[in-house]
């Protein structure tokens, strides 16, 4: 025999260590472990050894073969990955961000409100933002010179034309056009001449109206409770308390348990533990008379809510004027 198996092994390890790339490793694998490779030939020649040496030599040669196999695999891995270092990505680098805009928070909340009522079977209607006194006040049972008009600081265009102070004129416009039953909500901008932390001269409301035979105050409570539970969460407690709107009788203010302090009292709820979120009531018979509905046959309920108010509660915004500054840093949060 020309070389001992130990010599072959040492030579192979030296060659592998010296190899510069994956290609050389593959060549070496052929030289040592190939069909005509050195280890293979040695194994084949074992049969020529004296019989008593054969088992020991065979065992040793197979150990070497296994060890070399492992060494080749390690070398291949080492040299293989080293070769592709240039193509590796720094995946922590920021990606190319496609431009992304945001819907205004008022739009988002408005859509959420509308979606809830649409699921409950309501239609959506819209109307003018500049309104006749008749639609904004008179037909809603606010007589001229009635102190109830003081409840809403009005922007006047003339004696007879105002910026609508609420979305309630839609009640009249809808009932004038459509015979009962009516089931509709009316979102839109409204205007009041008032400006501070909680008031802006323009804001958004959603009005609701349901008129049919046998509509009850209990129904009003049922619908608005469903709404509040979907808008906030199922656990939100509500309370209905008597109030006054000229176009509803009985009238109710709807409070929810303060979402900030859960009723223990905080700045947002003026320590009362409750937040006013909706005005509502049974449609006043005078309103039905004004649109020619038969109030002995039909009853109904109406409600209205401020969209900004709900957005402020949901997002924890404390200054309503933020909504109309259109500061990117604000808009980008929603």
């Amino acid at each position: 025999m020309e070389q001992t198996i130990e010599e072959i092994y040492e030579e192979a390890v030296r060659d592998i260590d010296a190899a510069a790339d994956e290609g050389r490793i593959q060549e070496l694998a052929v030289i040592y472990l190939g069909r005509k490779g050195k280890v293979t030939r040695y194994l084949r020649n074992i049969s020529q050894l004296p019989a008593q040496q054969r088992p020991e030599a065979g065992k040793r040669a197979n150990q070497v073969k296994q060890a070399l196999n492992q060494t080749f695999r390690d070398a291949e891995e080492r040299l293989g990955s080293a070769a592709s270092t240039d193509e590796r990505l720094d995946v922590s680098l920021p990606g190319r961000i496609p431009a992304r805009g945001r819907l205004h928070p008022v739009t988002q909340i408005n859509q959420e409100i509308c979606d809830i009522f649409v699921r409950l079977g309501f239609d959506i209607a819209e109307g003018p933002e500049v309104e006749k006194d008749w639609y904004n006040f008179e037909a809603l049972n606010f007589p001229k010179e009635h102190p109830a008009r003081d409840m809403q600081d009005t922007f006047f265009i003339s004696d007879d034309i105002v910026l609508r102070t609420h979305t309630s004129p839609l009640q009249i416009r809808i009932m004038e056009k459509q015979a009962p039953p009516v089931r509709v909500i009316a979102p839109g901008k409204v205007y009041r001449c008032d400006s501070d932390l909680t008031h802006t001269p323009m804001f958004h409301q959603v009005e609701g109206l349901l008129v049919d035979r046998n509509v009850t105050f209990g129904n009003l409570k049922g619908i608005l409770t469903t709404f509040v539970h979907q808008m906030f969460d199922e656990q939100t407690s509500l309370r209905f308390r008597p109030s006054f709107f000229p176009f509803t009788e009985p009238s109710a203010e709807v409070d929810i348990l303060c979402v900030m302090c859960r009723g223990s009292g905080c700045r947002v709820c003026s320590s009362t533990g409750w937040l006013e979120v909706l005005g509502s009531g049974m449609v006043h018979p005078a309103v039905f008379e004004n649109v020619g509905y038969d109030s002995t046959q039909y009853t109904g309920f109406a409600f209205g809510m401020g969209v900004e108010r709900i957005a402020m509660l949901k997002y924890g915004i404390d200054d309503i004027r933020r909504f109309f500054e259109n500061d990117y840093r604000f808009l980008a949060q929603f």
Partner: protein, 804 residues
């Protein structure tokens, strides 16, 4: 309405604690705004022992006292004659707020520091004694607050009343509600009958010239009185609800107004010409000075209380200086009237005066309560002023009050409320607030509302009484039976939703600006005189000059927002707004409301990053957004034509285009002109578009028909033409698109180049034309031939050259 529990207890026993009471009031519709303790301001006033008294070096009448307040001893300058060593007296520390609102500060009096103030009863609002500092007697721990030492506590409840409940603008009114919810008795004040009868008619008279404005006027006379301060109990009642005591006569009228809700006025009888009253409207332009010293010019529709010659009071609002109660007054005429609410409200608004009296008259006082309130006042004035009531009363009542009976169905009430209350339960509720009930049959009650409930006239009003007193929260929640029918969502809503979605997808954030604009916004946008957007709708009572008219364009709002964003260092701004503009048709017509969408792009097309350099946005970025928006709505073909220089008002000429669909202009896109930028205090370029939503919506296909996909491959050929620099590329594109050659599938402009080697005044345009047949794979030969034909036609039509 402010009530103190100490006063309220005169009419009703209060069994509940204050929180429970406040909550219960809120839940029956008398919303409690706040509950405070009227003695809280005395927390800072301590019990002090006067340890030593020595004369003030610089003032004969002042003394310097060392006052022990527990841990420390204060040096206090005092001028009271009764200050003696060893006396316990209240000492106010700096920071104390007195009943009249003033705040005590540490001060130097005639060169001597005073670290507090020794107080009299009157200064603390605890009594009428002003003669010296208060002697607290013995047994109080030094340094304790006198609120604790004297056990002073009185809850004051502020109720935010709705305008339909003037009956609760009185202590008795609130007490009545408290009595109803606590199921406790209500006690009215006793008014002993007048001793003598009869001679008032010889002393005065009342003539009502205008009964519509004044349906009832009562007068009583009290003679031989002495005007002076009220006794402390009366002052205390007034102070407990935040009123300032004045004198025994005026205090009584205020007291009775707070007690009953009926405003009263006291005239000095001897200052009335002819000692009589005439109720009439003012003469146009008549001058009048009210009690507060203000001079008014009256107009002919204002109701005045006059004497034999001249006005002496503005009816229901304020008396006149010329007949005011004064130190020499000995005879008093007391007025208690019912005035027309509309008349009072109109006059108060015109004169800009709102008083406790007008507040009540506007909402409606008890039409049957006038005489009772007058008798109560006369009795108290006679008692406190040491005088005699002239016998009898004047009661001019040209239009008597007429109450009606309401027929009230128990069944219908239950049907409307969704309740199941029986007839007796409903009757009991109504009786508890003094409604009188008569049973008509099993279902129907005849109900007469008490005269002070001016808000109740229909069965529905009674339903609310039933509901609120039985508790809104006891009405079960139910779901209405809604028929399963619905209408399709209006097209405008779906359009707007999609519009917003598209814009957000293009990287624009939604803005919402006020619908107001500055009066000069037309000038700021450089609009021509005859532009319809100059026809602004002006607001009669704007909040600010910047919000004086309704907007006629969305652009100023976006530019304002841009300015704010730049000021807050937001360097790239992509905003859009969907909203209405308002074009006036004259002040007495509703305006035209037009929904618009506008966008604004400022700063970079893309922010700088490790991947790419920052690049500023330009006209083509904004135009691309518009093109993509129109494509999003499947608008088949829009055109962009250069805006004539004369039409470029707020956009830069040569950098603006009109957007047309089917030859109709629906909007514009362009760069904001430097002049307009300057008027909004902006400098760097900004790009905008503005589109009429309705116009766009009407040109948006409502239905989409799918086309089969091509079966055969397409072949593309390029052509580069050198043409005149001013030739609009769209003309070549249109020419290729409109060719009769049916195999042209599409054309795409992929390069524009000016400069060497292209000659001056020329530019090179490169197009890629895609050819495709729907029936076969095209042969190269065939495509080359068509392409050559098209190229030749283009060269001819546009006097173009091929590159050398």
């Amino acid at each position: 309405m402010i009530v103190s529990l100490s006063w309220l207890r005169d009419y009703v026993p209060i069994e509940w604690d204050t929180d429970r009471l406040a909550n219960a009031l809120t839940m029956i519709g008398l919303e409690v705004d706040s509950v405070t303790d009227r003695y809280d301001h005395l927390k800072q006033v301590r019990v002090g022992r006067i340890a030593s008294v020595r004369p003030h070096p610089n003032a004969d009448k002042l003394k310097i006292c060392e006052v022990a307040v527990g841990d420390e001893t204060l040096s206090v300058v005092c001028g009271a004659p009764n200050v003696t060593e060893g006396m316990l007296s209240p000492v106010a520390l700096p920071g104390t707020q007195f009943a009249d609102g003033t705040v005590l500060e540490k001060s130097t009096i005639r060169g001597e520091i005073s670290e507090g103030m020794l107080c009299s009863e009157i200064e603390l609002g605890l009594g009428a004694d002003r003669s010296g500092i208060m002697n607290l007697g013995s047994g109080h721990p030094l340094g304790a607050s006198i609120k604790d030492a004297l056990g002073l506590s009185d809850a004051v409840i502020e109720v935010d009343l709705t305008p339909n409940r003037p009956d609760c603008l009185s202590l008795i009114g609130i007490a009545r509600e408290v009595a109803a919810i606590q199921n406790a008795p209500l006690t009215y004040p006793e008014i002993p009958p007048d001793a003598s009868d009869g001679n008032i008619g010889e002393l005065t008279s009342v003539i009502i010239e205008d009964p519509d404005h004044c349906p009832r006027y009562t007068a009583k006379l009290v003679l031989d009185i002495t005007v002076g301060p009220s006794p402390f109990w009366l002052q205390d009642r007034l102070m407990s609800v935040g009123l300032r005591p004045i004198n025994n006569i005026v205090d009584v009228t205020n007291f009775v107004m707070m007690e009953t809700g009926q405003p009263l006025h006291a005239f000095d009888y001897d200052l009335l010409a002819d000692n009589r009253i005439v109720v009439r409207t003012a003469k146009e332009g008549e001058p009048f000075v009210s009690l507060d010293g203000k001079e008014h010019r009256l107009s002919g529709d204002m109701l005045m209380i006059c004497d034999g010659e001249k006005p002496v009071g503005i009816a229901g609002i304020m008396g006149g200086l010329n007949s005011e109660i004064n130190d020499r007054t000995t005879r008093v005429l007391i007025e208690s009237a019912y005035f027309n609410p509309v008349s009072i409200r109109r006059t108060a608004k015109t004169l800009g005066m709102g008083t406790d009296a007008s507040h009540r008259f506007e909402r409606g006082v008890d039409p049957a309560g006038t005489m009772r309130a007058n008798e109560r006042s006369a009795r108290l004035i006679a008692e406190l002023g040491g005088g005699n009531i002239a016998g009898g009363a004047i009661d001019a009542n040209p239009i008597p009050y007429q109450g009606g009976r309401i027929l009230f169905s128990v069944g219908k009430t239950n049907r409307v409320l969704g309740t199941n209350l029986n007839r007796d339960a409903m009757a009991d509720i109504l009786k508890s607030i003094e409604f009188s009930i008569e049973t008509i049959d099993d279902d129907v009650l005849g109900v007469v509302a008490p005269t002070f409930r001016v808000d109740v006239s229909r069965p529905e009003d009674l339903m609310e009484e039933i509901a609120r007193l039985s508790g809104y929260n006891n009405i079960p929640e139910t779901t209405p039976l809604i028929p399963a029918e619905g209408r399709p969502l209006a097209m405008t809503l779906r359009f707007r939703e999609k519009l917003r979605e598209l814009m957000v997808g293009f990287g624009f954030s939604e803005a919402i600006a006020y619908s107001f604009a500055a009066r000069r916004s037309g000038d700021m946008l450089n609009l021509p005189k005859d532009d319809p957007r100059r026809r602004t709708l002006a607001i009669l009572n704007p909040l600010t000059e910047d919000q004086a008219v309704m907007r006629t364009s969305l652009i100023p709002g976006l530019l304002d927002a841009l300015g704010r964003n730049i000021a807050r260092q937001n360097r790239t701004v992509r905003l859009f707004e969907v909203g209405k503009i308002f074009i006036s048709r004259g002040r007495n017509e509703l305006p035209e409301e037009i929904e618009m969408v506008a966008g604004l792009w400022f700063g970079s097309r893309q922010d700088g990053s490790w991947l790419a350099e920052e690049a500023p946005c330009d006209f083509y970025d904004m135009k691309g957004v518009v093109e993509s928006l129109l494509a999003g709505f499947n608008v088949p073909r829009a055109e962009f034509t250069a805006m004539p220089d004369s039409a470029c008002n707020y956009t830069r000429s040569g950098h603006s285009a009109e957007i047309l669909i089917d030859g109709e202009v629906i909007g514009i896109v362009g760069e904001v002109s430097s002049g307009v930028l300057a008027s909004f205090d902006l400098e760097q370029p900004a790009f905008i578009f503005e589109i009429d939503c309705h116009q766009l919506m009407n040109r948006t296909p409502t239905e989409i028909q799918a086309r089969p996909l091509p079966k055969f491959p397409a072949t593309a050929r390029d052509i580069t033409l050198i043409v005149d620099r001013n030739l609009e590329s769209v003309r070549i594109l249109d020419n290729i698109r409109n060719t009769e050659e049916t195999l042209v599938e599409s054309v795409h402009l992929f390069d524009v180049f000016e400069g060497d080697p292209i000659p001056q005044g020329k530019k090179s345009l490169s197009f890629r034309i895609t050819y495709r047949s729907s029936s076969q794979t095209l042969e190269d030969e065939q495509v080359n031939r068509i392409h050559r034909d098209i190229s030749e036609k283009l060269i001819q039509s546009f006097k173009a050259e091929l590159p050398g």
